[in-house]
Symmetry: C2
Subunit: 141 residues, 2 copies
């Protein structure tokens, strides 16, 4: 923070925003993290419970995802050395607070998904027409 110069700060913040958002997106933007986090939203779960809830996730990916979440302090891991062994995973407070921006994304998704789908349909149509045009010139090869 080099000063309170509003116009300058706006530009700087824009760059910093990129960094920060990209960083968070890298953490939660993979295939399974969000689904696992949401699975744990309601209550702590055991390893196999998560696998059942998430549905489709492999053991490998579940283990990797959980380890990543634990690593970043979003999920806590509690091991009970019983037989058979039992491990509980639970959202930390940090993990719980992540739900807020995630909810914000969800709201956006619900609200604007129809518009996005419509746009995609329009785009596909335009592309189809353009493709037909192209074909008349792509004679050789």
């Amino acid at each position: 923070m080099s000063g309170a110069h509003s116009s300058v700060r706006k530009v700087d913040a824009s760059r910093a925003d990129c960094q920060a958002i990209t960083e968070i997106l890298d953490r939660v933007g993979d295939k399974w993290t969000v689904m696992v986090v949401r699975a744990l939203e309601q209550r702590p779960l055991r390893y196999n419970e998560i696998q059942r809830v998430v549905d489709g996730i492999s053991q490998r990916m579940l283990t990797l995802t959980l380890k990543g979440l634990e690593r970043d302090g979003l999920v806590s891991r509690t091991m009970y050395p019983t037989i058979p062994p039992r491990v509980d995973y639970e959202l930390t407070e940090l993990g719980n607070r992540l739900m807020v921006p995630l909810q914000s994304l969800y709201d956006w998704a619900v609200k604007h998904r129809p518009a996005m789908l419509a746009a995609r349909k329009r785009f596909a149509e335009k592309e189809r027409l353009a493709g037909a045009q192209q074909k008349r010139f792509a004679t050789a090869k």
Copy 2:
């Protein structure tokens, strides 16, 4: 699920949330989309201007990212058939509204990044100790 409607709806919503969030994360969660969107936040930009602002993006990736954004109606493309050619890219209103949840993510990132980094450091330390333990048994390769 025999209880009140509220609890049932909560579970159902949880699944739907996953879908929606994952879907949006798939759109904006790639390497460049967010950076391009934020580059366009302030004002429309030309192709080369974006490439300069984003810094590090290749022509190929810029083209692909822009096409994806245009496809989903988040960015509009305006071509001026002058010489040399000129193409402006501009956030649509849909694209602009995406800034809201992105800002929410940014806020979370700024607020909780220190905690995440601290957690990661602690985790690395614990892992290092565990790794030392392991080594004593990993005699034969």
